[in-house]
Symmetry: C2
Subunit: 279 residues, 2 copies
């Protein structure tokens, strides 16, 4: 999955050239994809436990999954269906909203630093510091020179994370304009989905080309060797879940975390337990 | 489940009189229990979404599940298997460890207040403020008069939570001395479980009667009308998961959170979406 979906470092990205309903890599169809995702789930849980176990012996490694994409692209669905496979105790999930006044009083990476996974954890960002070069660019929230500097700051920040043992996996959930329309209409058609709908989303949708351009620039400037971007065709939810599960699995497999060896006398502990009374 | 497992308010509790391998309430056997738990999972997810949806329209209600129990009683297993059924994005899980120096500089309820669920969330405490009347009592970490005052403080604190819309569900996972021995031995028998084992656990185990007494006092003094304790026989993991799922389901059913009604013109939004260009 990594080689298939990675955005090449430093290359110009043209999102229009990527079909959002494509299914690169395997699964032949939806049923096979869903089954394969569920099968990966067990291996993911096992690797997560090993990662956590290793951290209890001083291993500082951890994973950070960054999810970005337009409204309805499936960031929340990915958390529910992919991250839902992990043991929740070892996950640290943060959904980034409009910055609070306190957050705005700090450099843009400050609130990100507060939400990082601890050693042994799987961190998940539903939106991230990339909003600061996406919505910030589209709505001109900062002067162009400040914006321009942010890409380098992000790359340095992510470099410092990887230096500290964080495996950074950045996924852009790529949906088509038409698919977003269908998903928004579906929300309108179901009264129990109205709470997810904000008429302001239609105004944002009018800025689609500007957002696509902002994503293209972010993907080009910030897909680095240490923290590459992955472009996930996301019109098909089952494919999205399968691809992101696969990415997580490949990265965790590479980390290959090990259960620490006992630092105590196992035989003695067993003897003490067997002789400590009771019936 | 609530009536079946609730610790009666103000009554003396004798833990020895409760069989830890009992299965009060339904499921006839393990297979039926596991199936019933999975079936509850779907309803739990649905109710959780409704709770979250309601919070977006100002509903401040939320749930706090408190898990307490001796080592190996299954607090972590409950999080994995019961809470794992929820959407992780709406869960706020906190495992309380030995207090940090900063935490010790504050009143004992301070760190608890930092970890409460926000409106619409399901909060889960793996250990809690009850450690401050359990380990603190057994190891005499505070003077008896201070300890004695803590029960009332806890009750007042929990009253303030329920006043603020928090449904507090406190579960004591009740295992037998023999069952703990079996589970600890199982950890010793599997090298990939050694990391979970600490020889200090055997020293703590020697204090079993003192801990049982500390639990009895906490259950008696802090099982209140607004925040009752539930005594969960936990020797059988499938029963524990079934009972706690059932408790969560009953409480969420009673809350009966509703999807908020649209506060915008649905027809207009549909019209705008259908006419906003693209092919």
């Amino acid at each position: 999955m990594r080689d298939l979906l990675r955005v090449p470092e430093g290359e110009r990205v043209n999102l229009a050239s990527y079909a959002a309903d494509a299914t690169p890599g395997r699964p032949v169809d939806k049923a096979a994809g869903i089954l394969a995702t569920a099968q990966m789930g067990e291996r993911l849980t096992d690797l997560q436990e090993r990662l956590h176990a290793a951290s209890t012996a001083g291993d500082r490694r951890r994973v950070l999954l960054v999810l970005q994409g337009m409204d309805t692209s499936g960031k929340g669905g990915t958390v529910k269906h992919v991250i839902g496979q992990f043991n929740p105790l070892g996950c640290r999930i943060k959904a980034f909203k409009t910055p609070t006044p306190e957050e705005l009083d700090h450099p843009f990476l400050w609130r990100i630093s507060q939400a990082l996974p601890a050693p042994g954890e799987i961190g998940i960002f539903d939106r991230s510091h990339y909003e600061d070069v996406l919505i910030a660019r589209v709505h001109e929230l900062v002067p162009p020179s400040d914006l321009g500097r942010r890409y380098g700051r992000i790359n340095n920040f992510e470099q410092s994370l990887t230096d500290d043992g964080v495996t950074v996996i950045k996924c852009f959930l790529h949906i088509s304009y038409e698919q977003q329309r269908r998903r928004l209409l579906r929300r309108l058609d179901a009264p129990d989905k109205h709470w997810k709908f904000d008429p302001g989303d239609i105004d944002e949708r009018a800025l689609w080309p500007a957002y696509q351009e902002a994503y293209e620039i972010a993907l080009e400037r910030c897909s680095t060797a240490h923290a590459p971007w992955y472009l996930i065709p996301a019109d098909r939810k089952w494919y999205r879940d399968w691809a992101i599960s696969g990415l997580l699995l490949e990265h965790l497999d590479m980390l290959d975390p090990r259960y620490p060896k006992a630092d105590f006398d196992v035989g003695l502990a067993r003897k003490r337990l067997l002789s400590d009374g009771g019936s």
